[in-house]
């Protein structure tokens, strides 16, 4: 072990967290939008619109079928246009957000579709509007499932930050490759792996506790 280890790790972790927080934020925002649109416009949905549903669904499938590393390359011009550079953590946030949003869209869709149709019917029966149904029935009722799904997604984004690290995004992934692999610094390789494992554990634990606390409130035994 050499004395630069902690400094390198700390910088890597900071960059990873930076990418993780912002990409998760934008990906969740976009993903919620996509998921809600899918559920609202599907056949029998509260704002049924087959053409929109078809287009959104195809776009999601299109982006999801590309390997992430290729998507990053494709998005280089977009990143340059949005943040002015194609290198570093900020540029990676653009690619990560766009790359993860379709996946988020699908898991938001499946969480919302788990809500019993009877609840939607009841809301319709007393005159709820489509927006009431989306934002006051479907999303609150799906909340525990949403939190669990979003946890899975944020952990997937953690993995993607490491992939992005391979082509110039910085962060722990880049550290593991540049130092651990290319310069034979096994201490850095292992330390990076341990930090990533800990990070994922913390994320999973946080998601689980939030979901559990919502469920405990709703289903507390009398």
């Amino acid at each position: 072990m050499r004395d630069d280890l902690f400094e390198l790790l700390w910088e890597g972790l900071r960059e990873t967290l930076y990418m993780l927080v912002w990409s998760s934020f934008f990906a969740i925002l976009l993903g919620m939008l996509l998921g809600i649109t899918l559920v609202a416009t599907e056949k029998g949905g509260v704002l049924e619109n087959r053409p929109i549903h078809k287009v959104v669904s195809l776009a999601i499938n299109g982006v999801r079928s590309l390997p992430f590393i290729i998507l990053i390359v494709l998005l280089i011009p977009v990143a340059r246009w949005v943040v002015g550079t194609s290198l570093g953590p900020t540029a990676a946030v653009v690619s990560l957000s766009i790359g993860a949003a379709p996946f988020l869209g699908r898991i938001v869709e499946s969480a919302l579709k788990e809500v019993a149709p009877g609840k939607v019917e009841a809301a319709k029966s007393f005159g709820a509007s489509p927006l009431d149904i989306l934002f006051r029935v479907l999303i609150p009722e799906a909340l525990p499932a949403l939190v669990r799904s979003l946890t899975i997604a944020v952990i997937a984004i953690t993995e993607l930050t490491a992939v992005a690290g391979a082509i110039g995004a910085g962060g722990l992934g880049s550290l593991a490759i540049r130092f651990g692999y290319q310069r034979f610094r096994e201490d850095i390789l292992f330390a990076t792996v341990i930090v990533i494992i800990l990070l994922v554990q913390v994320l999973q634990w946080t998601g689980d506790s939030i979901a559990r606390s919502i469920n405990r409130r709703r289903y507390k035994p009398e």
């Binding site: 009841a122 007393f126 919502i214 507390k220 009398e222």
Partner: protein, 262 residues
């Protein structure tokens, strides 16, 4: 008054087109407690769900009072629905909202202010005898209590009509009885029309004044509940009355058995 005329609805199924409702006509007087009885698949649920357009009829008209429900769209349909309460077999309460919030929801949707909501919800919860459960979540309630919340939610907008889609089918006989009592007292207090879809004769027997028998999407018999039991005309009605006779004998035996055990 509820006037249904020439109402048809069919579904496409794997084996062809299924006619759930076939040019059905029915009139229900204001303030009545009206039972619609039929076996599974007779179309009774489709009928009640067409009354508030949870399902779209293919043709025909439904009018409640002066409002022709089948002519309304969008916001006007939603406003009309505020005056048509509905309760369900599976209660359909929102698990993430407390009893108070569940009952308040239709008022929020209708754009009422907070003070009004608080006052009105308190009132309705008192009516269904659940004042002490306002802060509970549905998961903490029994089936009968859940249906009381359903009733409170359906009544909170002071509807003219209450539609009950198999509202007691998921409840045990005792709870069924208490819910029926509640519906009856609400009918007397508020004078609203109650339409009950059911396959349980006890429901007819306990609270309905009039009944329609539905068979293959058509009304095959209408009349008072007395006529139904004493002089059933249609096949369906006769089958039901035969069942109840046998049922009553069996139940009598069961009750005696339990009594002896105590």
């Amino acid at each position: 008054m509820i006037a249904i005329s020439n109402l048809s609805k069919s579904y496409k199924t794997a084996s062809g087109v299924f006619k759930a409702l076939n040019k059905l006509d029915l009139t229900i007087e204001k303030g009545d407690i009206y039972g619609i009885i039929g076996f599974s698949g007779a179309g009774k649920s489709t009928l009640v769900r067409c009354m508030n357009r949870l399902e779209e009829p293919d043709e025909g008209a439904v009018a409640i009072g002066d409002t022709v429900i089948t002519e309304l769209e969008g916001k006007r349909l939603r406003e009309a629905r505020q005056k048509i309460g509905m309760i369900f077999q599976q209660f359909n309460l929102l698990d993430g909202k407390t009893v108070f919030q569940n009952v308040a929801f239709p008022l929020k949707v209708a754009g009422r202010d907070k003070a009004f909501i608080r006052k009105r919800v308190t009132e309705v919860l008192e009516m269904v005898q659940l004042s002490d459960k306002a802060g509970h979540y549905p998961s903490q309630l029994s089936g009968g209590q859940k249906q009381r919340v359903g009733i409170a939610r359906a009544l909170v907008n002071e509807p003219d009509v209450l539609l009950c889609d198999e509202a007691t089918s998921a409840l045990d006989p005792q709870t069924t009885y208490s819910i029926l009592e509640l519906l009856q007292s609400i009918n007397q207090q508020l004078g609203l029309t109650v339409v009950l879809i059911t396959h349980e004769l006890e429901v007819l027997q306990h609270i309905c004044n009039n009944v329609a028998v539905i068979e293959q999407g058509e009304i095959v018999e209408t009349g008072t509940v007395d006529q139904f039991f004493l002089n059933p005309q249609s096949d369906t009605a006769r089958r039901f009355v035969n069942i109840v006779e046998r049922y009553r004998q069996k139940r009598q035996l069961a009750v005696e058995g339990v009594g002896a055990g105590i």
